[in-house]
């Protein structure tokens, strides 16, 4: 068994498999009439909405069948990778920057132009012209995906509790600074009635990106441990230490924050804006403002959507793009009707009067107007891993914020260098 021969075989196997991923023919008009089946791969999000979307689309396009398959969120990346390697990617699916970078997706600009879609009312944080890859649908000047809803980080507060304590409401915009936020939280904490003033997650999940990384996304030293970042972390840790907010072991704001807020055990919570529905169902008199920002830094919050894109290996690019077009138009309305979530297209929100006069919703829209570009970092949450640890140490009182963040900065810088190197392959 001569080694070179086997190696060539393996290389050929791998090459052919990967090459099969690239779509060969761009059958445009042919697809319009014949029966076509599209595979759409997602992980479960918005129960009920997806089925509605698919059936409405199929009703409008009787010659197109959409086959919806759900994979576990945690292993979704593995599934897409192996499917691409096998040359059997879906036609449509949830996508991210890695796929755009690898050239595995079809750009959608031609469809947008052809159908004359006006994307200016879509959340610009997601479809806007981006400098460098961000976690949005725009990559190197081209559009690769669209979604149905606008997700963002927001701060909900209980207006009744503010009234009782005689604390003035925060304005919808600009949001409070971290110091103000913690002060108010401590004012509103009521241990006898088991009420915390606020619940918030790790600071890195809601503080502006300037407190972690440079504008090109490659440097962490000097940002993670900048005086602004250090003082923000220290203040937030103090909030927990003084009992104004629960520690993350007791309560995870992302998973349980909404439940506690809805039951009146939290005066404020920094969480997913989509929690709106639960909160309204519980009948809480709520207000919305932006997530707290660090002193001297322009406020920023993360926005996202269910980015659905078209894979380059699809055999029915025209039909697939039709689905995306449907998502961008009728899909927006369906999203509001089925789930009540804020759609990606704010024009539709206005058209359907999504705000409906509820002050909380109006405030949410106001906050949304100030969304600005974030910075892309490959594998964001894993790269920033050490800062989660650091925060935990500060909260536990085992280290000062400066020390912990200095250490974290070194570790994150290492991660960043590795991540960017791998990205550029």
């Amino acid at each position: 068994m001569s080694r070179p021969r086997w190696l060539t075989l393996i290389a050929v196997v791998a090459l052919v498999s990967a090459a099969c991923g690239g779509g060969d023919d761009d059958g445009e008009d042919g697809d319009a009439a014949e029966q076509v089946t599209l595979d759409l791969w997602l992980y479960e999000e918005g129960y009920g909405f997806l089925d509605e979307l698919v059936s409405s689309f199929e009703a409008e396009n009787p010659n197109i069948d959409v086959e919806l398959t759900t994979y576990p969120e945690d292993q979704f990346g593995v599934k897409i990778d192996t499917a691409l390697a096998a040359g059997r990617p879906p036609d449509l699916g949830l996508v991210g920057p890695e796929l755009m970078n690898a050239g595995m997706l079809l750009p959608l600009d031609d469809m947008v132009q052809e159908l004359g879609l006006d994307l200016s009312t879509f959340n610009q944080g997601i479809v806007g012209e981006a400098l460098g890859p961000t976690e949005s649908c725009s990559f190197e000047g081209q559009l690769y995906c669209l979604g149905s809803y606008t997700g963002m980080v927001a701060l909900f507060y209980n207006k009744d509790m503010f009234d009782t304590a005689g604390v003035p409401y925060p304005t919808a915009w600009p949001p409070m600074s971290v110091e103000e936020f913690v002060d108010v939280a401590c004012q509103l904490t009521d241990p006898e009635n088991e009420v915390w003033g606020a619940a918030y997650g790790d600071p890195v999940t809601f503080l502006p990106w300037e407190t972690v990384v440079s504008a090109d996304g490659r440097t962490a030293t000097g940002f993670v441990n900048s005086p602004t970042s250090v003082s923000a972390h220290a203040v937030l840790a103090r909030g927990i230490q003084e009992g104004c907010a629960p520690s993350l072991n007791i309560l995870d704001p992302w998973e349980q924050g909404t439940d506690y807020f809805a039951r009146g055990q939290l005066a404020m919570v920094v969480t997913d804006f989509q929690s709106l529905n639960k909160i309204e169902n519980a009948g809480v008199n709520y207000g919305v403002t932006g997530s707290p920002t660090a002193e001297g830094v322009e406020p920023w919050f993360n926005v996202w959507t269910d980015s659905i894109g078209v894979f380059a290996g699809t055999e029915h690019p025209y039909a697939a793009k039709q689905f995306i077009a449907f998502l961008a138009t009728e899909g927006q309305r369906l999203r509001v009707e089925e789930t009540g979530d804020l759609p990606l297209d704010t024009a539709v929100a206005e058209e359907l009067d999504w705000a409906g006069g509820t002050s909380g919703r109006e405030e949410g829209l106001e906050v949304l107007k100030h969304a600005r570009q974030g910075v892309f970092v490959p594998n964001r949450w894993d790269t920033f891993g050490p800062i989660f640890d650091a925060y935990g140490l500060v909260v536990g009182g085992e280290m000062s914020a400066q020390e912990a963040l200095d250490e974290a900065a070194l570790a994150i810088q290492e991660n960043l260098d590795q991540a960017w190197e791998a990205w550029e392959q």
Binding site: A14, D39, E45, L68, Y71, P72, D74, A85, G87, Q256
Partner: protein
């Protein structure tokens, strides 16, 4: 004279009044039993408490938090028994997933029992050139992390045209699994050689020795293999995930994993789903475990 603790078969004849030494030994027997039961119950407690917590979590209605500051053992309002029903019908096609998984599991068990007993027998009781080397190769294959072989093996199966089918999940079991081969080898080597010698004198060949003598005595270890094969395949997530691409073929493991999303996992339903999915395994195990007892200790060395 030492008080010898007699095996359980010996009993004091009823018509003779119990002597003090006999009374002492009976008392020791009873306290021994009590001790054993106490130990068993203690260990069971350690095992069951977490499972019990899962059960109470599964019973909580939708909006009630599962992970509370002080563990709340039981739902405060009402016990949502319907969660178990919901899991079977509403959330996902659970029944179909179970059927799919059963097919894969049964096929694997058949494959493992056939192939591993054959190969294990060779390593256990046959003398042949290269046995040492081949055995070491067997062990080394156990050392290779499946993560490393996952992608190359996946590409190979794709090339064979087996993507999207159950074949990559079933066929390998018919070629032996190192873990079970090793286990069977160790087990078969504890069967005394006298049986073999007698058989050879009678002119039996290797196959007959295997089929008529060794295999029947190997029920305990084969049961272990079957049970473990059942478990591994029932809970196997990555295999079905990368080879299957249509919901109709999905397995229980995929269904369970689909319930866990980073944003909004319905933990009560997820716990209920897990509990429902282990029922078949537990039932099968309960009935099959008497096969774990067998071998020489029960049969004896006669013929």
């Amino acid at each position: 004279m030492k008080t010898v603790e007699a095996p359980e078969r010996v009993q004091a004849p009823p018509e003779i009044a119990p002597q003090p030494s006999v009374l002492r030994y009976r008392a020791r027997r009873v306290s021994h039993k009590v001790l054993m039961y106490a130990l068993l119950l203690g260990v069971c407690g350690f095992i069951l408490l977490p499972v019990g917590w899962m059960f109470t979590a599964a019973l909580k209605p939708d909006l009630e938090p599962i992970f509370t500051p002080t563990p709340e053992w039981f739902p405060s309002e009402f016990w949502a028994w319907e969660n178990f029903r919901r899991v079977l019908t509403d959330v996902m096609p659970f029944l179909r997933y179970m059927i799919n998984t059963t097919i894969i599991v049964v096929a694997n068990i058949i494959g493992v029992l056939i192939s591993c007993s054959l190969v294990g027998f060779a390593f256990a009781r046959l003398r042949f050139r290269g046995s040492k080397v081949l055995f070491y190769i067997l062990i080394v294959t156990m050392l290779i992390p499946w993560q490393a072989l996952m992608v190359p093996q996946f590409l190979m199966f794709v090339k064979l045209g087996w993507y999207g089918t159950y074949l990559p999940l079933i066929v390998p079991s018919f070629t032996g699994t190192a873990f079970f081969i090793f286990l069977i080898r160790q087990y078969m080597r504890t069967i005394p050689k006298d049986l073999d010698d007698a058989a050879r004198v009678d002119g039996l060949n290797a196959w007959q020795i295997f089929w008529r003598i060794i295999l029947p005595l190997s029920t305990p270890v084969l049961t272990v293999c079957a049970v473990f094969t059942f478990l591994w395949n029932w809970n196997n997530l990555l295999g079905p995930l990368i080879y299957l691409d249509s919901d109709e073929k999905f397995t229980v493991a995929i269904g369970l994993a689909n319930m866990v999303t980073l944003a909004d996992t319905p933990w009560n339903l997820a716990m209920a789903a897990n509990l429902v999915s282990i029922l078949p395994c537990v039932i099968v195990y309960f009935f099959i475990q008497k096969k774990l007892i067998g071998g020489i200790a029960s049969v004896g060395l006669k013929g």
